[in-house]
Amino acid sequence: MYPAVKSEGQLGCPLVGTWQPKVPVGTILSEGMLVGHIVRLGKPEPVVVPAGIHGVIRKLTKAGTWTAYGDAILAYGAADGMVVEDDHHEAEAGGVEGAVAIRADTDGTVYLRPEPGAAPFAAPGQKVAAHDTLALVEVMKTFTPVRCPIAGEVVRVDVDDSEAVEEGQTMFWIKPD
């Protein structure tokens, strides 16, 4: 998992190990682009640009630098004529008109599927009944279902599977029937 993407424009190292960049300063970044490797226990692990980053590499951490999780491996800025977008969640942060927000009632880790590989509990467009399980929130190894308070349709999901959520954070938008 990548550390939280900041709008200031630094890419944090997703793994612990020795940084080996693959692209030079001046490269325009796009989602999924391979920018280098982290060598961990002698094995190179690819580092790709996560979603939500658009810009040009201004500064590159030196090849061979040993980095902890989250240490900056490159800094980027807006390329000429390009608008830098914020994190995709923040970009969508507005509410959905006529829909009810389902918020986390505690800090924890949210799971959108009953088990890895299974279909999600509630995908956008899906009809849900009152008391249906929308997700599981794990707190200290205890899993608690998030129940839908109303019958309606899932219009938007604002969290990723196995994402850390904070108390009060909006997870789902449900349009009541």
């Binding site: 998992m1 612990v16 961990r40 226990l41 094995k43 902890a68 999780y69 924890g108």
Partner: protein, 454 residues
């Protein structure tokens, strides 16, 4: 001795191991997830490396990362603490392959005792009798019927790969055996990916007794006393005491040479705990062996005056155990209350959050192992245990009196804890008179007066 030690753990565990290592003059490297990176216990280490996001699977359990950090920081050894990678034989083997000392038993012994059926067979061969039952997993109904008839009903069907109280099914009589076996096997397959099941005689009101073992690479084995952990909720220990309240001196003396000889013959090294279940006649039977130091090791430290982490490090560094069996002297009685951030009035729901007030008692006969400071935020990602409140008294009655007083002086605000449950235990007759068993907490205390009081 090692120059540098890495601790692959967090919280109270990391702090506990750090303090002993620092006292021994060893440099300490600790790892932290981003959820823990500003926590106080990290300040006691010489070096801190942030290794990943909050989720354990991407931080404390990520073996490649943990090993990379150990190598890069020139650590000679890794102490796994308890929990996380402590009983992972693959991790122990990978440490060895990279020239790092794993502070614990060999990968072979972790594997041998981690498989419950193999552990039963091993201990039987070494002379320590397990709970009567099938020697290994049963092959089918015919064998199950034969074994059940031998040991007598009721029996307990247990998943070979089970643990923590999961994968167990009691069977009252012969007519229910076929259905029980089929259900136990399919449940085990669904939960653990391994449908093998073995049979044990069901001990209904057993007592959980355990023996602390320490062994070096030169064949020296010392039993560092015993503990009782019968106060359990959902098979999780709530309170422990040393010495074991329910163990007779005769049974203790009967077991001591058998245990010592079994461990010596197995070639096991470092710390371990032999967990046993004592039946209504006072006879203790082998249940399982934990191949690590346990949470409750500290009550043994209180009554023996030994530092078990120090002994672990010495043995791992190739030294001989600095004590013999006759040097282990038990003084008085110790009790440990596990303080968890959970809400007993609300089905023991975990209660993470900001600790707004924190006060623990201090003084003679009191030991509090905690990483918690006032103002800390308890993250939701890890275990709910936040402190171990321990007392040491001249005898059991004195220890209970001290426990009651210590609990009265403890204040934790901002999060809900199980302190009131411990206060109720302090006045619970079967605990006070020492007659309790593994069902007492759930079947008596929690089902009666205490439940009405919350």
């Amino acid at each position: 001795m090692f120059r540098r030690l890495m601790i692959a753990n967090r919280g109270e565990v990391a702090q506990r191991v750090t303090r002993t290592a620092k006292r021994m003059g060893i440099e300490v490297v600790v790892i932290a997830s981003t959820a823990d990176k500003d926590q106080q216990w990290l300040n006691e280490a010489d070096e801190v490396v942030v290794i990943g996001p909050p989720r354990s699977s991407e931080s404390y359990l990520d073996q490649c990362t943990v090993l990379e950090v150990a190598r890069k920081t020139n650590s000679a050894a890794i102490h796994p603490g308890w929990g996380f990678l402590a009983e992972n034989d693959i991790f122990a083997a990978r440490c060895q392959a990279l020239g790092l000392t794993f502070v614990g038993p060999s990968a072979r012994h972790i594997k041998q005792f981690g498989d419950k059926s193999l552990a039963r067979a091993t201990m039987t061969n070494l002379g320590l009798a397990p709970i009567p039952g099938s020697k290994e997993a049963v092959s089918g109904l015919a064998e199950a019927e034969r074994v059940a008839a031998q040991v007598g009903f009721p029996v307990l069907l247990k998943a070979v790969a089970g643990g923590g109280g999961k994968g167990m099914r009691p069977v009252d009589g012969p007519s229910n055996l076929a259905t029980g076996l089929q259900q136990a096997s399919s449940e085990a397959l669904a939960s653990f990916g391994d449908g093998r099941v073995y049979i044990e005689r069901l001990i209904r009101q057993g007592r959980h007794i355990e023996f602390q073992i320490m062994a070096d690479a030169y064949g020296n084995v010392v039993v560092v006393g015993d503990r009782e952990c019968s106060l359990q909720r959902r098979h999780q220990k709530v309170l422990e005491e040393a010495p074991a309240a329910g163990l007779s001196q005769a049974e203790r003396e009967r077991l001591l040479p058998i245990l010592t000889e079994a461990i010596r013959k197995s070639g096991y090294t470092n710390a371990g705990t032999v967990e046993m279940l004592m039946d209504e006649h006072g006879t203790a039977w082998f249940m399982e062996m934990n191949t690590r130091l346990q949470v409750e090791h500290s009550v043994t430290e209180l009554v023996t005056g030994l530092d078990l982490v120090e002994l672990q490090l010495r043995v791992a560094a190739g030294e001989r155990l600095p004590l013999k069996q006759e040097d282990v002297v038990t003084t008085g009685h110790a009790i440990e209350c596990r303080i968890n951030a959970e809400d007993p009035a609300n089905g023991f729901k975990p209660s993470p959050g900001r600790v707004t007030k924190l006060r623990f008692p201090e003084g003679d006969g009191i030991r509090v192992d905690t990483h918690l400071r006032e103002g800390d935020k308890i993250p939701p990602y890890y275990d709910s245990m936040v402190a171990k409140l321990m007392v040491h008294g001249s005898d059991r009655a004195d220890a209970i009196a001290r426990m009651r007083a210590a609990l009265e002086q403890t204040e934790i605000e901002g999060v809900t804890t199980n302190i009131d449950l411990h206060k109720a235990i302090g006045r619970f007759e079967p605990f006070v008179d020492g007659s309790y068993n593994t069902t007492s907490l759930e079947k008596e205390l929690m089902e009666t007066a205490w439940r009405d009081s919350i």
